[in-house]
């Protein structure tokens, strides 16, 4: 059966394309009509063509599997019905993201210097003292422009009334942007005619913008600074992205063993011509593995002396070490206050209401309402270390209650949002599936926000877990100008 919009049930959720069952949003009408005009055979052909394109373009993510002989590349799960946001709405979101990242950078810089925000009583000092991602090694360091989080991936979700919230900020090594770019490339190959119906904002400016952002951080002022992408290696789940971005920017893709820090505290890469000076390192390795001299002494991934080179201003590290202090989920709760404190502005995009388990009253509330709340560990990502109260068993809730009592600093709780849905192809008809959006914000000399971002969709019915490692898929994300003709 082909797609019949009258069979597509919209109930209890905000749907991105349909106002209610069988009633598409005005600007989504040509899109919906296009898909319902395809018969089963045609739908299947397009779907197969997309899968073929993904395989032949080599778009993969890596999963470690013991029985299949080490790590294997999985092809990227992709849904052919795009996710659409109007430009009018997107412009507002973009402003909100810029505002947020500006405040986040000011916050991080403050935390590693005077800590005014703590002295002024806005942020409790003990939260920083107990933070796993606060790096004492970074205190007093002045990265160029006071920027710590050059690349930020903030996850946005939409609740049932249509309000957009920031769910979390990823300030360490956010990934996914290569899939945003490749999703568009696949869509253009498979559905060229759709791009004639709509005025869709392009996304492919990102590698150039990233290159400019990185170049603007170079400690040596020269027209062609040496930029490298530092990867943990082929067994990392995001290796595809590392090599993709390096290739797109014309930067070298290096591993820790390719770099060394000289007696002059400068960083060099080992080439067949001998050592060559490196100016900017876009590192995709976690803080603690960056430099065995400063952090984890057992790290085989990092470069001994790298922190020394960075603190002396001989090399730029992007993102800066220690930037993760602000993507702690407890600190997240204070971001709206930080926006107000540093910028004197009201946040343009709201936070999801968050209960802090360090606060006695809020903790009591959380413990009494575990069946209604989502509990998250402060420093986990990728959907790990999480309790979805309403879907969990009593035993799981008891386990989390114990964890919270033992280490309240490690947990926050939020009401369960009813994430919005969007039509997703299941066999040859469309069903609503929950989704989120990860835009990427670059902060260098200028600030840049991707047009849209990476839409991740939970392919399992009713599920809200969108991570690709746990059965999530993705969609091309369109920002459409509804006024353009």
């Amino acid at each position: 059966m082909p797609i019949r919009w009258k069979n597509y049930k919209v109930s209890g959720f905000y749907d991105e394309l349909l106002r209610s069952t069988s009633r598409t949003r005005d600007w989504a009408r040509p899109l919906c009509r296009f898909f319902s005009a395809l018969n089963d055979q045609e739908l299947l052909e397009r779907k197969t063509a997309a899968e073929l394109a993904i395989r032949s373009m080599g778009i993969t993510f890596t999963v470690y599997s013991e029985e299949e002989g080490g790590s294997i590349d999985r092809t990227w799960p992709f849904d052919i019905i795009p996710r659409v946001i109007t430009k009018v709405e997107w412009d507002r979101i973009e402003q909100g993201l810029k505002q947020r990242v500006r405040a986040l950078n000011l916050l991080i810089d403050d935390l590693y210097h005077k800590q005014k925000i703590i002295k002024d009583g806005v942020l409790p000092g003990e939260l920083i003292a107990d933070s796993e991602n606060f790096r004492p090694q970074c205190v007093g360091v002045k990265p160029p422009g006071g920027i710590w989080a050059h690349i930020c991936g903030s996850d946005l979700v939409r609740d049932k009334d249509g309000t957009v919230y920031v769910l979390e900020d990823n300030l360490r090594v956010p990934s996914g942007v290569s899939y945003m770019l490749e999703n568009r490339a696949v869509m253009k190959r498979i559905f060229p005619e759709l791009f004639e119906h709509y005025s869709i904002e392009p996304v492919d400016d990102y590698p150039t913008q990233l290159h400019q952002c990185l170049a603007s951080m170079s400690p040596r002022k020269q027209s062609f600074p040496e930029i490298v992408v530092l990867t943990p290696g082929i067994y990392n789940s995001a290796y595809f992205e590392h090599s993709y971005l390096a290739q797109q920017m014309g930067a070298e893709l290096v591993e820790g063993a390719d770099l060394l820090v000289g007696d002059d505290d400068c960083v060099y890469m080992r080439t067949v011509q001998g050592p060559a000076r490196v100016d900017v390192i876009y590192r995709r390795i976690d803080d603690l593995f960056l430099d065995p001299e400063a952090f984890n002494p057992d790290s085989m991934l990092g470069v001994p002396g790298l922190m020394r080179a960075w603190t002396r201003g001989k090399v730029a590290l992007v993102n800066a070490p220690g930037a993760g202090v602000a993507d702690d989920k407890v600190i997240y709760a204070f971001v709206p206050k930080a926006i107000n404190y540093y910028l004197g502005e009201q946040p343009l995009i709201a936070n999801v209401p968050t209960y802090l388990c360090t606060d006695k009253k809020e903790r009591e509330y959380v413990l009494a309402n575990l069946d209604k709340l989502v509990v998250k560990a402060a420093n986990e990502s990728g959907g790990y270390g999480m309790l979805v109260g309403p879907q969990a068993s009593q035993a799981e809730r008891n386990k989390f209650a114990q964890l919270i009592r033992r280490r309240p600093r490690n947990y926050i709780a939020q009401p369960l949002l009813t994430l919005s849905t969007t039509p997703t192809l299941v066999d040859s008809h469309a069903e609503p599936r929950h989704l989120d959006l990860r835009p990427f914000i670059l902060s260098g000399k200028d600030t840049y926000v991707t047009t849209g971002g990476l839409t991740r969709v939970a392919l399992k019915k009713g599920s809200t877990v969108v991570n690709s490692s746990q059965g999530g898929g993705s969609k091309d994300t369109w920002i459409i100008d509804t006024e353009a003709r």
């Binding site: 082929i234 290096v254 390719d258 890469m269 080992r270 080439t271 067949v272 011509q273 001998g274």
Partner: protein
Amino acid sequence: MLSRVAQRIYWLARYLERAENTARMVNVNAHLLLDLPKKLPLGWAPLIEITGSTELFSDCFAEANERNVVRFLIADPRNSGCLLNSLSAARENARTIRDIIPREGWEIINALYLDTRAALPGALAQKRRFAFLRSVMGDIQRLNGLFAGSMLRDAGYSFLRMGRNLERADMATRMVDVRSENLLLEGSEELLPFERIQWMSVLQSLSAYQSYIQKVQGPVRRRAAVRFLLQDPDFPRAFLHCSEQVKACLQTLPNNDAPVRFVNRISRIRRARPDEMSAKQLHDYIDRLQLNLARLDSLIAKTYFAYD
């Protein structure tokens, strides 16, 4: 070019060449044995000697019969130099330089390893083995053609050619060494008629038979064959040709003084008379050649891959 990338290209080429050589050697030996009287002392043991793994082999197997030797050379995980391990190592080297080698190249290497692994050990059955090994060789030759037809002639390509040529030079010396020892059957009237087909098979093991016939234009004889395999400047798997290729590659690279000087020393082989040497002399001479190849390999590593 990053040292690591250069190193991986170099080893990619070495492992591919090694896999091809192993496959060819097994096929040629099987054909040779069909033509020889059963009472000849030859058989499969020389192949273990050629690959320099006598000790490891005797730890694993009691008898050097066809089944054991073939399994050991092609598919035994205990033998790090076996064909399957060479393909696996080639694949691991290729994996991280997918952006440097042609994209189809990675796909062929990946499929070659996966298909070979899936086909073993079933494909070792006598009646299927020949076709199986020939298709492995065919895939590797296809790769070499693809590299030649689409890679930039830059430092990376020089490292690829160096790896391939060093591996070839190494194989030529091993083959000549072991075979001259086994085949020096002087005085054995009874076996003389077989000398010629044995040296033909040595040449075939190095894809040299046709070229030899064209160039030498005489019957296959031990002396001429040794000279051809070690000293011919034009045959691509002859020792001298390979060392000259390595030199040409080095001349495209920076900081090449020491390695080029060393290759010049190696190329002095062109003035040697290996064909006039006694068995013992030849053996010692080849020992020195192999030592020099090992030194050249570490000199290249020290100059270009130095990880401190």
